[in-house]
């Protein structure tokens, strides 16, 4: 009965075909170190990092390459030892593949670590010190959002957080990297969770794992056994269960108001991969240099979960996994529901890269768009409670304000509506376009307003100056008349 009421806490969602079986393999650790690494300065939400090295400089593994800028940012470190070849613009791992600033590192093959000191017992450290070290290690949310973890830890301390949720849902099809991480490195993750609890001053944590990963659940449960403050629970398998707000409602029954951060209602959520990275940073002094990436899809002959250093080109990853480039119809970074397609494979892997998929035509959704038949499947699967069909209809006739009124800004781009649509309408594509367009229009309007303000101010200033000049002139004439009058009086007197 209780579980029935809990089910009511899940809104919308789809049961996407999982396609995880082919990739549910142990993590591969022997990825050959690439000759060159292309390390973007922006691999996180916020401001890009600022380089602190010079071209030609020799760096060691783990050495700081670029420091963080401002409050929301993250530093970048050398994933291996070698020489800096270049700091310049290279194509970004983004659908546009527009160039962004990257550091090119030529590896020397020695993989020589920078010597660091670690605290013997991190639980003796201040909570602030934990945050500082997590920030200095360049850790960001590894579930895909890449929000700097230190900011969340600090917000956790400032707000009274009662529950830390560790997201082990991994609801995207194909992806298995978190699943394997939980199975193979459960103790490290749990340690990371304890360190996070310490860093935030929070009492309890819940690790939520979808019930299609029973082995990961058992491993995590065993690892969490000694610690009463950490509870491991199974959650239903339903995309998008890993959406932070869906998970928060399922686990705590609380709903995050629009425009608020979850910390404001006493909950913070981190990914299992992030917890693992925190463990490595605090216990071993290792900054975030690599991550486990799922390489999967019909065109991949050797699908695997492989630990790769950041900056590795996808093409090298594909060569290692024996991807059939002939069959590859689309390359996707991330999962097939929310991931973005990439135009080519000469792009680096970054902190956000949970998976790289090489999909064949058979696996892709049909793109032959048909008229909307108002079946309302999109309404029933939307976890945010939107009406995608009405939004899309308004966007199609360029009524973007109407789309915003219908809740365009509350769309989380989870892809459920596009997934279920029998007419193959690329709804998320519509919404992303409209959001970008609305923002551009707002900027243009803002600019026009600013320009108008400046012009008005200038006109007022000129008017003031002219007025002043007129007054001065009048005063001068009056003074002159006065002088002449006085002069005349003196003359008469004389």
């Amino acid at each position: 009965m209780l579980s029935f009421f809990k089910k009511l806490r899940i809104r919308g969602g789809v049961h996407a075909e999982e396609r995880k079986a082919a990739t549910a393999l142990p993590i591969v650790n022997d990825f050959p170190l690439p000759k060159k690494l292309y390390i973007p300065l922006q691999q996180h939400v916020g401001k890009a990092a600022e380089p602190v090295i010079k071209v030609g400089e020799k760096v060691l593994k783990g050495q700081l390459l670029a420091h963080s800028q401002g409050l929301v940012s993250a530093p970048v470190h050398a994933p291996s030892s070698g020489i800096i070849l270049d700091v310049n613009d290279y194509p970004a791992p983004h659908p546009s593949a527009l160039p962004i600033r990257m550091i090119v590192l030529e590896t020397d093959g020695k993989d020589e670590w920078l010597k660091t000191s670690v605290a013997a017992d991190p639980f003796q450290l201040d909570a602030e010190e934990i945050s500082l070290r997590v920030g200095a290690a360049g850790i960001v949310g590894l579930g895909g959002a890449t929000f700097p973890t230190v900011v969340k830890l600090n917000m956790g301390r400032e707000n009274q957080i009662d529950t830390l949720i560790i997201n082990g849902a991994e609801c995207e099809p194909y992806l298995c990297c978190d699943d394997r991480l939980m199975q193979e490195r459960a103790a490290e993750i749990i340690d990371g969770v304890r360190l996070m609890l310490h860093g935030m001053g929070t009492k309890s944590a819940v690790v939520a794992i979808e019930n299609n990963k029973p082995q990961a659940f058992l491993a995590m449960q065993a690892a969490a056994e000694p610690y009463v403050q950490i509870k491991v629970m199974q959650i239903p398998t339903r995309y998008p269960m890993g959406w932070d707000r869906q998970l928060i409602r399922y686990v705590t029954g609380r709903e995050v108001p629009v425009g608020c951060r979850s910390s404001e209602i006493g909950v913070t959520i981190h990914n299992v991969g992030t917890a693992h990275a925190v463990h490595k940073a605090i216990r071993h002094g290792q900054p975030l240099l690599s991550r486990v990436v799922t390489v999967a899809g019909g065109a991949v002959n050797r699908p695997m979960n492989v630990e790769v250093p950041f900056g590795t080109l996808i093409s090298e990853l594909f060569a290692f996994c024996e991807v059939n480039t002939e069959n590859t119809a689309r390359i996707i970074m991330g999962g097939p529901m929310m991931g973005d397609s990439l135009p080519h494979s000469s792009l680096p892997t970054v902190k956000a890269t949970s998976g790289i998929l090489a999909l064949t035509t058979n696996e892709l959704k049909n793109t032959d768009e048909q008229p909307c038949i108002r079946c309302a499947s999109c309404v029933s699967v939307c976890p945010a409670g939107l009406r995608p069909l009405d939004m899309a209809n308004n966007i199609r006739i360029n009524q973007l304000d109407a789309a915003v009124d219908l809740g365009l800004k509350d769309c989380i781009s989870c892809g459920c509506c596009s997934y279920i649509c029998p007419s193959n309408i690329p709804l998320v594509q519509y919404f992303k376009y409209a959001s970008g367009e609305v923002m551009a229009r707002q900027q243009a309007q803002h600019k026009a307003e600013q320009t108008k303000k400046l012009i008005d101010a200038r006109n007022a200033r000129m008017e003031r100056i002219a007025q002043q000049q007129r007054e001065d002139e009048l005063a001068r004439i009056a003074a002159k008349a006065e002088r002449e009058r006085l002069k005349a009086e003196q003359e008469t007197a004389a």
Partner: protein, 357 residues
């Protein structure tokens, strides 16, 4: 370098579904009731069915051609065929051929294509055509053939069937009669009581469809089987059929309980006329029904209410078509007022307040 089909965002994989698949699933669900109707009413019904479907396809192709679009993909989506099929099911089985042609023309041209084609229409095309035919051609649309199974020697053979469909029925009184609801209405007007009126009526025959009525609407049993299959396939949702049938049944029960001589029983309501067909196949039309679960409950219940009112106090014995059309026109209104609550917002769209603890 790899060439791409269409670089984009959003779900790159999809559910195994398509518009034509949905249309074919509905037609599949209609098959048992249609087959039974064709069996009961013989060759003339078969001719009318074929004529209606073919002319629906013709008008669709004609309109698509006028709009300068490729005909084949539009025909292949199955929507015109389904519209023709639904219309044929609601026609008197021995109606002349031109009823089918005119009906299909009304449904496809005035019911659907003038609005812009699939998904754009305000009214259910089949119901629009049926109601327009009923008002324009009341004689043809209320001439109900006796049950005359195709296997009986006394039933019209193939040639005789062609003659009935294309040249008209000669000996009308011998082979036609009134539907149950029509009979009840006429008898009421002569101040007869229900016990007298219904002494020859059999609920069992009504259930299986061995009775006078529209071509495919007589068998409540087979229609509900098809509808249940659609529910199981998740092509339709339960909200509209359940709220519609429940409303009719409850109202009928209340009035029948008060005066059982002047108000027919819920069972007769459910088993007769177009109720089952409308509840499961017409009112559940995606295009013309609301798109939230609550909206669908309101829509279904209102349809049920209107059907009961028209049947009980209206001039027509059957009100399902009128009720559906009226509620179709209210659908945009329902969708405007009944919408899902957005996550993190209250029903009015304001952000939720942070709970004080």
């Amino acid at each position: 370098m790899i060439t791409h089909l269409k670089p984009n965002s959003g779900a790159h994989v999809g559910a195994n579904n398509s518009v034509s698949r949905i249309m074919w699933q509905v037609m599949f669900a209609l098959m048992p009731a249609t087959a039974f109707g064709l069996f009961c009413f013989g060759w003339p019904a078969f001719n009318l069915f074929v004529v209606t479907l073919l002319s629906a396809l013709f008008f669709e192709a004609f309109c698509v051609r006028l709009r300068g679009k490729a005909v084949k993909p539009v025909i292949m989506d199955g929507s015109a065929l389904l519209t023709g099929w639904l219309l044929a099911m609601t026609l008197p089985p021995w109606a002349p051929w031109w009823i089918g042609v005119v009906g299909s023309g009304l449904a496809i041209i005035l019911g659907k294509q003038v609005y812009g084609g699939l998904g754009q229409n305000l009214f259910n095309p089949a119901m629009l055509a049926r109601v327009a035919l009923l008002i324009s051609f009341p004689i043809e649309m209320t001439t109900w053939a006796n049950v005359s199974p195709i296997i009986l020697a006394s039933s019209p053979d193939f040639i005789e069937g062609l003659r009935i469909t294309f040249l008209g029925l000669v000996n009308i009184d011998a082979s036609t009669g009134a539907t149950t609801l029509g009979f009840v209405k006429t008898e009421f007007s002569q101040n007869h009581l229900l016990t007298d009126i219904l002494k020859d009526n059999s609920n069992f025959l009504n259930l299986i469809g061995w009775t006078r009525g529209s071509l495919g609407e007589t068998s409540s049993l087979l229609l509900s089987l098809g509808g249940l299959w659609l529910l199981q396939q998740k092509v339709i949702q339960w909200q509209i059929p359940v709220s519609l049938l429940l409303t009719v049944a409850l109202l009928a029960q209340v009035f029948h309980g008060i005066d059982s001589e002047h108000y027919i029983s819920p069972l007769l309501h459910l088993n007769s006329g177009a109720l089952m067909c409308v509840a499961l196949f017409i009112a559940t039309d995606y295009v013309t029904s609301p798109n939230t679960a609550t909206g669908q409950l309101v829509f279904g219940a209102s349809c049920g209410l209107l059907i009961f009112i028209i049947r009980t106090w209206g001039a027509y014995p059957e009100g399902a078509g009128f009720a559906v059309l009226l509620m179709n026109s209210a659908t945009p209104l329902i969708d405007h007022y009944i919408k899902p609550r957005i996550y993190g917002r209250d029903r009015k769209g304001k952000p939720l307040e942070i709970p004080k603890s």
